[in-house]
Structures are given as structure tokens and as C-alpha cells.
């Protein structure tokens, strides 16, 4: 399969997405948005796997992507359940107001 887009560009895009995700996690106050950002990071790594798999012509990259997909689904369901509980207990989704577990 001859790719029309070079692998480097795809990897750069994946890196960009990953950094965007991290930035989102760090600077966002709302937990839901943080969860979204984590999803972006997961997908960025998934993209990197796909690109690498395409580059070397091996199925491992796609296997890893399916694995990440399943994991992300599980993670989102647990994450959303936790967020729901947090909201029930604290009536807030602001991460800065939820800093109870300090040293």
C-alpha cells in the first residue's frame, strides 16, 4: 500500500494532538473537559500506532489501536461514573475546589 501522506507528517500530527491533550488536562478546570483531553491523548497515541503499523507493514499497530479503543471505552464509562459521583457529593466539577487529598 503506497501512502500518499508521509509517515513523518502523521507522527507530527499525532505529537501535536498529544501535546494538545496534555495541555487540556493541565489547564482545564472542568473535569469533563479533562476527560475529553485524555481521550484526545489516547487517540493521538492510537494514530501514532496506526501510522507506525502502516510504515512497517505490520498488523501490530492496528491490534494496538483496537486495544486502545476498547480501553478508552472502558475508561470513559468509569470516568463518567466517577464524575457523576463527584458531582453528587460536591455539587461542583471544578478540579481546584476538589483538592481534599493533600499531604
Amino acid at each position: 500500500m503506497n501512502s500518499s501522506v508521509s509517515t513523518e507528517i502523521v507522527m507530527l500530527l499525532a505529537g501535536l494532538l498529544f501535546v494538545l491533550g496534555i495541555t487540556g488536562v493541565v489547564i482545564r478546570k472542568n473535569i469533563i473537559f479533562m476527560l475529553l483531553s485524555v481521550e484526545i491523548m489516547l487517540n493521538a497515541s492510537g494514530l501514532a500506532f496506526i501510522a507506525a503499523g502502516a510504515r512497517w507493514g505490520q498488523p501490530d499497530g492496528q491490534v494496538m489501536f483496537i486495544f486502545i479503543l476498547a480501553m478508552a471505552a472502558a475508561e470513559v464509562s468509569i470516568g463518567l461514573a466517577l464524575i457523576l459521583q463527584i458531582y453528587h457529593q460536591h455539587k461542583s466539577l471544578d478540579i481546584d475546589k476538589l483538592r481534599e487529598m493533600n499531604g
Binding site: 496534555i22 488536562v25 493541565v26 489547564i27 479533562m34 478540579i95 481546584d96 483538592r99 493533600n102 499531604g103
Partner: protein, 629 residues
């Protein structure tokens, strides 16, 4: 029948185990039956075994019984093995026979005590340990018994622990004897290092070929063993614990601090006599220690007012005689005096206990007096014991044994006129303090009313012991009258006979001098304390005499000296080092850890952002290192 030997220590041990396990639930009668019964049975077995031993002596003069191997580590495999020869036979006879009499007495003496079963448990354990000590065939097992009797001594001195002074006395006895025990342990290490075995018969057989006569290693080893004996047998300078040990009940003083445990040092030296014979220096030191001790303790006994302290100092003094005998090579004489002393001193302690009990725990002799008619049985038995202690000629066991020591102190090849003179002076003081004790306790006016008279359980042992205090002497008579040597013949299989330098024909002169010493001491005290008491009053008023009196009364200031030399510097060091120097290092480690903890716990802010930043930075650093390296 010899194979019953293991029963002798096993019976007291069984008694101890029963009393420890179930003593609290048994009635006093059952406790006494267990405690007394176990020792009495042991005495019966001893007599059977002893009779068998004497009628058909085993080959080589010793019967050995190996029970099991104690441990087996890299070729070092001490056995739990018993060995019976004539020396240990004499000791086990004295231990079980006098022990059972004292136990019978205790059944009456301690009847009102709330810790009846604890008392008998400790006494049984003591008899067991003492039997292990004298029956052990190797030095390690003997050391086990040696420490066992020390432990029981501690437990029984502090038996009435509600009074802190008793606990203090018990601690003192334990710590001071431990000094000797440490030296003895070093001696055992040396012996094992040199011989590769701790079995006593092997050591005594090979020592003369392994060590040269008068070599320094022989001297050092012998002196280390002597130091062990000095601690246990309360010889100078480790004698200070014994007078204080009188805090225990009287039967304890009779059994442990008169008849048996304190003579363990004598047994040790007699058992290891080969090592001492290899070193003339060590043997001379044994004699000198004994001679000095017998005089020092004799003069101290002269000034005590507590009847049990008189007897305690007298015990130290009499063991001094035994050490003197060992030192001049009169091995059998020492053991003979040990046996005679065990009879009459146990008797004296038990009689003193009966008096103290009857007078409502009154220890001071100056508050006794006039007991001659009130307590006739105690008076007559005490008189026999006192006669034996002061070596009253011809009719007492003490005379025959002490006369032998006096004679050998002069006539043995290791003896000297000076040693004889000390022993002679000692005989004089012995007679003097014994008479003083008799007069103050039994004659004169009555000063304290009698509470209750001792029962049959207490008087019968006194009568039996009084009987033996007389007849025990007749088994060994001087050769110028009777020449009957049953006892020394028995022991010559184990102990060598004494080499004489003087002619035997002059012995009667020394016997005559011993007569003079005894009667002189008795007469002098009789005049001063009974006939013309104003003389002693006048003497009391002179300041120099008062100083001497206090000096002797305090045991020649040894307690104060030890206080000054050991206790005070130690307490001072402990005080200036209250915040332990060594502890500083560990405190430092703890405080560094504490600081680090505070530093790190400050990063635990609870802010998720910080944690993520931390993870990201960490990942970047790891990746950066990966790329760069």
C-alpha cells in the same frame, strides 16, 4: 542399680515441674508432700546408688551415664551425661540428705506463708541444679547447674519481695556471683581451646601431658576457675553478697548459703585439682585467699548483732578453711570439712530460724537471751552445732575436720607457718564468736517473749542434724589416736593424698595448740560477756575500739570500697551520659528522615494539575535522558 543415677536429679526436677504447673491449685499438704517427697525419694535413691557404688566399685572408680547429646555443632557435642565417683557421691549424699531434712523443716517453718508452693518449687529447682552441678561429667553441663543454683539463690533471697531491701540483697548476690561466673566462663573457653573437650575426666587425664608444670597458661586457667569459685563460695574479695543474702528465709540460708551452693567453689577446685597441681602459684593463691578470708570473716562475725549475719560470716570463714585446705593440697581434708560444715552449719541456721520465728522475727541477739530453759530442744541442738563449729575437741565433727586442716596447713609441702598461724588465729576467733553467740542468745535475762514453739516438723531435723554433727567426725580420725581413715580412703580414688614435709610424730603438739585456741576463745568470751560484763562495757567506750567495732561490723569496709571504686564512678558516668552518645547517631538518622518527609509531603497538595505536571516533567526527563545517552 547404678543406672538409677539419672533418677537422683530427675526427681527434684519432677517435683519442681509439678509445683510450677499446679502448685496454685494444690492444698498446702499436697505441696509439702510433693516438695519434701521428691527430695526424700532422691535421698533414698542416693543411698541405694551409693551403697551399690561402695559395695561393687565400678571400673576406674567412676560410673558414667550418658542420657543424650545436648547439641552437636561442628564437632562440638557436649552430652547430657552424669558421672558418679566418690567425690560426687559425697556431694550428692550431703545435698539430698541434708536437703531433705531442710525441706521437712521448711514444711513447718513456711506453713503460714502465702507463697508456700513457690517456695518449694524454687527449693526443688535448686536441689536439681545443685545435683546437676556435682554429677555433670563435662564442664558445660556443670556450668548449667552452676548458673541454675545462682538463679535459685536469687529467687530465694528475694523470696519476700514485698520488702525492697530483700530484692536489693538478691540483686547484689546475683551481680557479684556473676562476676565470678564470667571469669569461670573464660576459664572454660581456655580449657576448650587448649584441650578441645570439656569432659572432665579427659581434661584431668591429659592436662599433665598437654601443659607443662608451672606454665603461664595453666596458672591463668586455674586462676580463672578460682575466680569462679570465689564468687560462688563468697571468698575475698567477692564475699560481700553472702551476709546480705541472709534476707532470705532461714531454710534457704541453711540449704543454699551454708550447706551446698556456697561450697560449689570447693567442689570445682577439688574436681579440677589436676590443673591446680600444675601451677604452684595458683595453688598458693588459693591457700592465701582462703587464709585471708577466714580471718577477715572471723573478725567480722565477732561484731555482728544479727544472729544470721554471725552465721553468714562464719560460713565465709569456714569456706575459707576449705580453700586453705585445697590450697595446701589437703584435698580430702577440704571435702571432709565441707561435709562436717554442711551438717553443723545447716543445723545452726535451722535452729537460728526456729529462734527467730519463735521471737516474732527478731534477728538481734541482744534482744534474745535466756532461751536456754524456754526452748530446750533448740538450745541443746544449737549447743552441739556450736561445739562443732568451734571445733570442741574429741566430741564434735568440726574438731576432726578442722584439726586436719590446721595440721596440713603446717605439715603439707605447700603449707607454711604463716598459713598455719592464720588458721590457728581463725580457730581462736571461731570459738570466740560462737561462744558470744551462745551466751547472748541462750544465757542471761530473757528480753523478748516467745510467740510459739517450733513444731515436731522443725525439731526432728534439728535432732537428726545434731546427731550427725557429732558422729560425722568419727569416720576420719587422726593417726595418733584411732588412725581411722574411712573418708580419705574413699576419696583417694579421685583426689591425691597430701604430700607431707613435716614429721607425723609432731602432730600432737599442733592438736594441743588447737585445744588451746578453742578453749582460749571460749574462755575469753565467757569472761567478757558472762562473768564480768562490765569489762566489755568499758571496752566499748574507748574510741579506738569503737572504730574497730564499726570497721569489723561493716565487713572491713568492702561494701564501701566497692561503692567508691565501682558504683560511684559508674553512676557518675551514667549521669553525665544521660543523653547517650551512641544514641545521637540514631537520633540523627531519625531527624533527617523526618525532615525529608516534611519536604516531600509539601508536594502532596491535592491539586491534580500538579501531579500531572510532575508526571509530564518526569516523562520528559526520562525521554530526554534516553535520547541523550
Amino acid at each position: 542399680m547404678n543406672n538409677l543415677l539419672w533418677l537422683i536429679p530427675a526427681l527434684p526436677l519432677a517435683g519442681f515441674l509439678i509445683l510450677v504447673a499446679a502448685g496454685k491449685h494444690l492444698s498446702n499438704k499436697l505441696v509439702a508432700l510433693t516438695g519434701v517427697g521428691s527430695i526424700s525419694l532422691a535421698a533414698v535413691v542416693t543411698i541405694i546408688v551409693g551403697f551399690n557404688f561402695l559395695s561393687s566399685p565400678p571400673e576406674g572408680g567412676a560410673y558414667a551415664q550418658t542420657l543424650w547429646t545436648w547439641m552437636d555443632v561442628a564437632g562440638f557435642s557436649p552430652k547430657i551425661a552424669l558421672s558418679l565417683d566418690s567425690l560426687s557421691l559425697v556431694f550428692i549424699f550431703v545435698i539430698t540428705f541434708i536437703g531433705s531434712l531442710i525441706h521437712i523443716y521448711s514444711a513447718g517453718f513456711m506453713a503460714a506463708d502465702k507463697d508456700y508452693s513457690r517456695f518449694f518449687a524454687c527449693m526443688n529447682l535448686f536441689v536439681f541444679s545443685m545435683l546437676v552441678l556435682v554429677l555433670a561429667d563435662n564442664l558445660l553441663l556443670m556450668y548449667l547447674g552452676w548458673e541454675g543454683v545462682g538463679l535459685c539463690s536469687y529467687l530465694l533471697i528475694g523470696f519476700w519481695y514485698e520488702n525492697p531491701a530483700n530484692g536489693y540483697a538478691a540483686r547484689k548476690a546475683f551481680v557479684i556471683t556473676r562476676i565470678g561466673d564470667t571469669a569461670m566462663a573464660l576459664g572454660l573457653f581456655t580449657i576448650y581451646y587448649q584441650f578441645g573437650t570439656l569432659v572432665m575426666s579427659e581434661i584431668t587425664a591429659t592436662a599433665p601431658s598437654v601443659w607443662q608444670s608451672n606454665s603461664s597458661i595453666a596458672t591463668v586457667t586455674a586462676l580463672l576457675l578460682l575466680a569462679g569459685g570465689m564468687g560462688k563460695s563468697a571468698q575475698l574479695p567477692l564475699q560481700t553478697w553472702l551476709p546480705d543474702a541472709m534476707a532470705g528465709p532461714s531454710p534457704v540460708s541453711a540449704l543454699i548459703h551454708a550447706a551446698t551452693m556456697v561450697t560449689a567453689g570447693v567442689y570445682l577446685i577439688a574436681r579440677m585439682h589436676v590443673l591446680f597441681e600444675l601451677s604452684a602459684t595458683a595453688q598458693m593463691i588459693v591457700a592465701v585467699v582462703g587464709a585471708v578470708t577466714l580471718l577477715v570473716a572471723g573478725f567480722s562475725a565477732l561484731t555482728q548483732y544479727d544472729i544470721k549475719r554471725v552465721l553468714a560470716y562464719s560460713t565465709i570463714s569456714q569456706i575459707g578453711y576449705m580453700f586453705l585446705a585445697l590450697g595446701v593440697g589437703a584435698w580430702t581434708a577440704a571435702i571432709f570439712h565441707f561435709m562436717a560444715h554442711a551438717f553443723f552449719k545447716a543445723l545452726l541456721f535451722l535452729a537460728a530460724g526456729a529462734i527467730i520465728e519463735a521471737l516474732g522475727h527478731e534477728h538481734s541477739m541482744f534482744k534474745m537471751g535466756g532461751l536456754k530453759d524456754k526452748m530446750p530442744v533448740v538450745f541443746w541442738t544449737f549447743l552441739i552445732g556450736a561445739a562443732s563449729l568451734s571445733a570442741l575437741p574429741l566430741v564434735s565433727a568440726g574438731f576432726y575436720s578442722k584439726d586436719q586442716i590446721l595440721w596440713y596447713a603446717w605439715a603439707s609441702d605447700k603449707g607454711s607457718p604463716l598459713l598455719w598461724l592464720t588458721a590457728f588465729l581463725g580457730a581462736f576467733t571461731t570459738a570466740a564468736y560462737t561462744t558470744r553467740m551462745m551466751i547472748l542468745t541462750f544465757l542471761g535475762d530473757s528480753k523478748t517473749g516467745i510467740g510459739h514453739h517450733p513444731g515436731k516438723l522443725m525439731t526432728i531435723p534439728l535432732i537428726v542434724l545434731a546427731f550427725f554433727s557429732v558422729v560425722a567426725g568419727f569416720i576420719e580420725l587422726p593417726h595418733n589416736f584411732g588412725h581411722f581413715t574411712l573418708f580419705s580412703d574413699l576419696l583417694h580414688g579421685v583426689l591425691p593424698s597430701t604430700v607431707l614435709r613435716a614429721d607425723e610424730s609432731s602432730e600432737w603438739k599442733f592438736q594441743l595448740l588447737a585445744f588451746v585456741a578453742t578453749f582460749g576463745g571460749i574462755y575469753l568470751v565467757f569472761i567478757y560477756y558472762y562473768r564480768e560484763p562490765y569489762k566489755i562495757e568499758r571496752l566499748r567506750e574507748s574510741p579506738s575500739f569503737q572504730w574497730l567495732y564499726r570497721f569489723w561490723h561493716g565487713g572491713w569496709g568492702f561494701d564501701r570500697l566497692f561503692d567508691l571504686v565501682f558504683v560511684t564512678p559508674f553512676v557518675f558516668l551514667a549521669k553525665i551520659n544521660k543523653r547517650d552518645v551512641v544514641d545521637r547517631f540514631y537520633e540523627g538518622i531519625a531527624s533527617v528522615t523526618n525532615h525529608l518527609y516534611r519536604l516531600l509531603s509539601a508536594t502532596q497538595t491535592g491539586s491534580l494539575r500538579w501531579y500531572i505536571m510532575g508526571m509530564v516533567i518526569g516523562a520528559i526527563i526520562i525521554l530526554g535522558l534516553q535520547i541523550m545517552l
